[in-house]
Amino acid sequence: MARNDLQGSLDLLVLKTLAQRGRLHGYGIVQHIQRASDALLQVEEGSLYPALHRMEQSGWIRSEWALTETNRRAKYYQMTPAGRKQLDEAEASFEQLVKGVRAILRYA
């Protein structure tokens, strides 16, 4: 399981998730990432919430309390325009990283 490889990419994954799913709470983000990656990626809750908090401070996402389907109060996150810009940048640099790593691996 690529549990620890998420360090740099956690922001990217969270933003992408929110871009695709609109509004989600933390638990929902964890579930989505797990499902969408075919259980290849498992987000540590211990890393997720600090990251969410940090991204909210940076202004990339915003939060509000709302009720879930099961009438439970949970904190829902949504991407902001600044967050969308950040997502585009992060996606672009991630593509570059992957291209570069692939090139090196092929070279050897």
Partner: protein, 897 residues
């Protein structure tokens, strides 16, 4: 979000914390729901969720931790935690703050001295443009045959004229030196004041003097060239204070005549209120440096200051100085160079080495304090090991724990620094009262931003230093064992470290104590020199006869005779006399030419000696022993044979025998002043003027009768005579009676001061007294801190090895043996420190050679007494904690942990 929201977060931490907790709880609930839906029981689901989730507290901490704005809030919490810790174990906090206060207090106080003297700008306008004129001499002295290299800050009339003529790149001004008690004149405020004669402090300065200092007179001007030449009109400049008090701030004072030294002087200026001059004076009169019959004629009684002119450079000044002709009074064997020394350097040259030594001493104390702080911290860290391990097990990161410890150290450091600054202010106030005036720099001791910055910096440095130690402890923290045992064990390594620190502290203390010891021995030596007279129950009064009314020898003679008679009539007075100088005082230096004896006719026939005039009965009043011949009587008149009485040193030095009665010598150069020696008296201890070797010594002196003084102003322009009375015991109101006796002969002659023999000796030994006070205080402080360090070391050892001692006692060891064992480690460290300290002292004490008299730097008495004292004090300090062993009950300690 941004800064504003981050600031807002600061205040809503509680709310945030609650919110995060709610969020996490919701997360768990949703996970549990999902797991239940997929078939797990609620209990199992909850447990699984919790396991996945990890430590909720740590999670919350980490989430909050990612909030940068909370950093400030975190510091605040760390601070509150630190304060709680301090309240829980006040011993540690108090010890640390007390140690810091003492160390930083004395460091700041001495630094303030250093700052005022060397760093702070002098209180003149553009002080970097002011310099003192220095003559550097090098060569073989034609008198002593020895090689001499020295700097002379004096000038004679020819050199002064040359300076004025040649040096155009700077404005030069001269001033008269002051020494002894001669720095004042009689002032009669006339119709302006209440016609009472006053004695006021005075200074002699040339024209342009105030320009050089950059002082613009508040009223009027400084002296003009006409007023400063020989025979020119008498002018005076007043200080603001004098003008305000004696002359009632009379704005029309300019042009008015006041009576100074018995003559009318026209007031031409008043200085501004805040004016500072190198020689504080209430009245300034012209020095007339160009007058070949004036005060500067001798060659080393006047100094020169200069201010660089606008647009000129020091290079130009140096070139112009190089062209000056060589002074006449200079020894023919010397080569001379002239240069301008920056004023700050010049004024601080005497005090600088002393202050530097003091600074070194207080740095030693700071090091010793740091050693103690390190020891205290190591023990504390060992005590808190369990607590730190618990925190880390509960999820705090190493960084969090370290940060909290640093905040605690910083808080203690700031407290110590604040208290230290308060202590420094207290010390400074007492220093200003205790130090002699010449040791206090112009403008007082500073407490400016530099000094405060120093205090803060020192505190931060020390607290960071002893805040680093826990970091090392933490690294080796084994969570499991630390949690298990609450033992306050200090590992072997840090025990060794502490003993090393104690050794170093003791070594530094040895050096300080030895230095203080040498100074104490010097002072004792000087104070116990055989005085050569009986100093008990003797009182003196001085008055300035540098006065137009006493230029006439007849008037002077009458004054002497009548005033001494009046003094004798005071009830309680056994005997009275008068003389130009008293014991302990400096005498007038003058040249003599020996007319017979082994040295006459040789080049050594011209020599220098100290001189004084005395009334008959002077030697009797002081109870100076008469070794040969006679002393003066009423038969020595202006018309009888010119006679002199010399002291034993004079006789032995110049005639190579104790009995020089019948020999002749000339005073000064003129053949009219040949005198015959009629008596030899014992040596009296005084401040040497001719051959300065120590603050108090004996040197050749000759005395002539007051009645045979031909030109009183020759003597009185430099010194004030003293009236000496001997009483049978303490007489109440004696000084008032003496003033009245003087006034009964001349109502317009104010006494300038009254001094007992003890006070005169104190005045001469001021420097030594201050040195002993300061160095002694610092050495004792170092001793105290070292003793505290030893006490803490052994005390911790006892606590830490309580179990071991219990076992020993249970197995039959005696109490004494157990105590000795514990005290041994402290003793070993101390002894090692003493040895190292003595070795260091051997090198360090050599620099003190110029400050000590009558003892050698390797004085055996000091070097034996100091280690003994140290071992005694630290021995007691090491033994006290071992007394606690007596209270150890082996049964209890073996059982408990």
């Amino acid at each position: 979000m941004g800064l504003i929201s981050r600031m807002r977060n600061l205040l809503r931490r509680e709310r945030m914390d609650a919110e995060i907790e709610a969020e996490l709880r919701a997360h768990i609930e949703m996970a549990v729901e999902d797991m239940e839906r997929s078939g797990m029981s609620e209990a199992d689901a909850r447990r699984a969720a919790r396991l996945r989730f990890g430590n909720p507290v740590a999670m919350r901490e980490r989430t909050l931790g990612s909030d940068a704005a909370l950093g400030l809030e975190r510091l605040w919490r760390d601070l509150l935690y630190a304060l709680r810790q301090m309240r829980r174990s006040p011993g540690f906090a108090v010890s640390v703050v007390a140690t810091l206060t003492l160390a930083i207090g004395v460091n700041t106080a001495v630094f303030s001295m250093l700052d005022s003297l060397l760093l702070r700008k002098l209180p003149y306008a553009q002080p970097e443009r002011i310099a003192a004129f220095i003559t550097h001499e090098e060569g073989v002295s034609s008198h002593s045959g020895r090689f001499v290299r020295q700097d002379d800050d004096g000038t004679d009339t020819a050199t002064w004229r040359a300076l004025r003529a040649n040096v155009t790149a700077a404005t030069v001004a001269a001033y008269g030196d002051q020494f002894g008690f001669s720095g004042g004149v009689n002032l009669d405020a006339g119709s302006a004041g209440n016609h009472a004669a006053l004695y006021v402090s005075s200074a002699r300065v040339s024209d342009h003097y105030f320009d050089v200092l950059g002082i613009r007179p508040f009223l009027g001007r400084g002296f003009s060239a006409d007023e400063d030449r020989a025979g020119g009109p008498n002018a005076a400049v007043l200080s603001y204070d004098l003008w305000r008090t004696v002359f009632h701030a009379n704005k029309g004072i300019l042009g008015q005549a006041i009576e100074v030294k018995g003559e009318p002087f026209t007031v031409v200026g008043v200085l501004p209120a805040a004016a500072v001059t190198p020689q504080p004076a209430q009245i300034f009169v012209p020095v007339r440096a160009g007058d070949p019959e004036g005060v500067c004629a001798g060659g080393d009684n006047c100094g020169v200051l200069m201010r660089l002119n606008p647009g000129a450079t020091w290079q130009e000044v140096a070139t112009q100085l190089a062209h000056l002709p060589r002074p006449d009074y200079m020894d023919q064997g010397y080569r001379t160079w002239f240069y301008a020394r920056p004023l700050q350097q010049y004024t601080s040259s005497d005090l600088r080495p002393k202050v530097e030594v003091l600074m070194l001493a207080v740095l030693f104390i700071l090091l010793i304090a740091c050693g103690n702080l390190a020891g205290l911290t190591l023990v504390r860290m060992a005590e808190r090991r369990q607590e730190m391990a618990t925190r880390m097990a509960l999820g705090a990161s190493q960084a969090t724990v370290l940060r909290q410890i640093w905040v605690e150290s910083l808080a203690l450091g700031l407290l110590g620094s604040g208290a230290g600054v308060c202590l420094a202010v207290l010390i400074r106030t007492s220093l200003q009262r205790v130090l002699p005036a010449w040791m206090i720099p112009a403008g007082g001791l500073a407490l400016d931003w530099r000094v405060l910055g120093f205090a803060l910096g020192a505190a931060l440095a020390t607290s960071l230093l002893f805040g680093l130690l826990p970091a090392f402890t933490l690294r080796r923290l084994d969570l499991q064992t630390s949690l298990a045992s609450a033992s306050r064990t200090v590992s072997g390594g840090s025990g060794r470290l502490r003993r090393l620190l104690i050794g170093a502290e003791v070594a530094l203390t040895v050096v300080l104590l030895s230095a203080a010891g040498l100074l104490v021995r010097t002072l004792v030596h000087l104070e116990t020199l055989p005085p050569g007279f009986d100093p008990h129950n003797v009182m003196t009064a001085k008055a300035s006869l540098n006065d137009a009314r006493y230029r006439d020898p007849a008037a002077f003679r009458t004054l002497m005779a009548e005033s001494v008679a009046a003094m004798k009539r005071i009830p309680g007075v056994e005997d009275a006399a008068a003389g130009l100088s008293t014991p302990y005082e400096r005498g007038l230096n003058t040249g003599v030419t020996l007319l017979d004896g082994p040295l006459s006719g040789t080049k050594d026939a011209h020599a220098g000696s100290s001189a004084a005039y005395v009334t008959p009965g002077y030697f009797r009043v002081l109870r100076v022993g008469v070794l040969a011949g006679r002393t003066f009587t009423d038969s020595d008149t202006p018309t009888s044979e010119p006679v002199a009485v010399v002291n034993e040193a004079f006789a032995r030095t110049f005639f190579h025998e104790a009995n020089a009665v019948g020999r002749h010598f000339r005073i000064g150069g003129s053949p009219k002043d040949a005198v015959a020696i009629v008596g030899v008296v014992g040596d009296v201890v005084k401040e040497p003027g001719e051959y300065p070797t120590a603050p108090l010594a004996t040197e050749p002196v000759f005395y002539i009768p007051a009645t045979q003084v031909k030109d009183p102003s020759d003597w009185h322009v430099w010194f004030q005579p003293s009236w000496i009375v001997r009483t049978r015991g303490p007489v109440p109101g004696l000084t008032k009676s003496m003033q009245q006796a003087l006034a009964s002969v001349d109502p317009e002659l104010p006494a300038s001061g009254f001094y007992s023999m003890e006070q005169l000796m104190d005045h001469e030994l001021q420097t030594q007294r201050v040195e002993v006070l300061l160095m002694g205080a610092l050495a004792l402080l170092a001793l105290l801190l070292s003793a505290l360090g030893v006490y803490a070391l052994v005390s911790n050892l006892v606590v830490q090895r309580t179990r071991e001692i219990g076992i020993r006692l249970a197995l039959g060891s005696s109490l004494g043996e157990a105590m000795r064992l514990m005290a041994a480690s402290g003793l070993v460290a101390t002894c090692a420190g003493v040895v190292v300290g003595l070795a260091a002292a051997f090198f360090a004490l050599r620099v003190m050679k110029s400050a000590i008299y009558g003892v050698q730097p390797y004085d055996p008495i000091t070097l034996i007494a100091v280690p003994l004292l140290l071992l005694a004090i630290t021995g007691v300090a090491g033994l006290l904690p071992t007394l606690r062993i007596a209270r150890i009950d082996p049964a209890t300690t073996l059982r408990a942990e």
